[in-house]
Symmetry: C2
Subunit: 168 residues, 2 copies
DNA sequence: CCCCAGTAGTTGAAGTCTCAATATTTCTAG
DNA sequence: CTAGAAATATTGAGACTTCAACTACTGGGG
């Protein structure tokens, strides 16, 4: 009988938590912008598009179903459709019908796309190193990986029932 | 005389570094999307716009010069101009001329903007907690803050000369 | 005082992203 | 076997971002 049931005061962030959160916003904003600019300049595409090529380049036969590619990159299928349309226009990706499912489409990395990747990869890796790995201790790198994995895991569309408390 | 001078092989990311970098991409992609969606739904604006209101609410007289606001939020002045135009249309921010510099503009948080913030803040804090703080140990939270600060610091437009090696 | 390089901020066009709606195909219960 | 539900992928409109060009103003040397 201490607090009214409906108008609970929310648990605000502490000063320390606010600092951390602000640092997160600043760091990610600056890094994302930095890489987008670097890649736009050196490869003619934003970071996400580059990443799509990277993922395709590592897939069997350099191809992936649209839905799979979307899941691997954590983006919506709609966003991916638009992105692939643009990459196709550049000749870096090609679409192919899926023989076993008439609804399906493969996104296939073309030779031109692969060459573009080869040309721009060194500059991109250098940028990532310079902005991230060169500045962090091995412990911090390890911590960052673990932290981001936890965050990603918590936001992933889960398997059926996994977030139903009465099924835990 | 071991390696040709022009075609040095770049220092690719190790497997471990690749894992970390991929986790970073996944985590930030999912978290940014999650918060954008949450705020679009509950407050009618994307996360960046909400953050602009937050920063203004903490500034003296709830106002900041455009350039200052851009620096506080790590975005370009152009992006800010567009964003403030939209926030102004919503009645959450108002522009005011700067008396001491006729080029200058203040962005001022309106009462309506403040109320909107009050209404949506609890939900937003809850989302940040649930996605981030609730899942990380105190040590991880601390580490994340330090890591992001380092990254941000490295990408910040520096003071004149600060990045000239011969001035160090 | 005047020139002009630098600063503050805005603008429009082109590119990208979101959201809801759509067409098509596959799966499944009955 | 078939009707309905679910999955695959795309589309278009509107919102947001980027980039370069632009206006207006300031401040410091000649």
């Amino acid at each position: 009988m201490k607090t009214p049931p409906a108008a609970e005061e929310p648990r605000w962030l502490t000063e320390e938590e606010q600092r951390i959160w602000l640092s997160y916003i600043h760091g990610t904003t600056l890094l994302d912008d930095h890489l987008d600019r670097q890649l736009q300049r050196d490869a003619g595409m934003p970071h996400l598009y580059y990443h799509l090529l990277v993922v395709l380049s590592g897939a069997p036969y350099r191809r992936l179903r649209m839905t799979e590619l979307a899941m691997h990159t954590k983006i919506t299928r709609s966003r991916l459709s638009h992105a692939v349309a643009r990459l196709e226009k550049n000749g870096w990706v090609r679409r192919e019908d899926c023989p076993s499912d008439k609804r399906g489409q493969f996104a296939v990395l073309t030779d031109g796309g692969f060459e573009t990747l080869e040309k721009s990869a060194p500059g991109h890796v250098a940028a990532v190193r310079q902005a991230l790995f060169d500045r962090l201790s091995p412990e911090q790198q390890k911590a960052l990986g673990e932290i981001m994995e936890i965050i990603a895991e918590g936001l992933q569309p889960k398997e059926a029932g996994a977030d139903l408390p009465w099924l835990r």
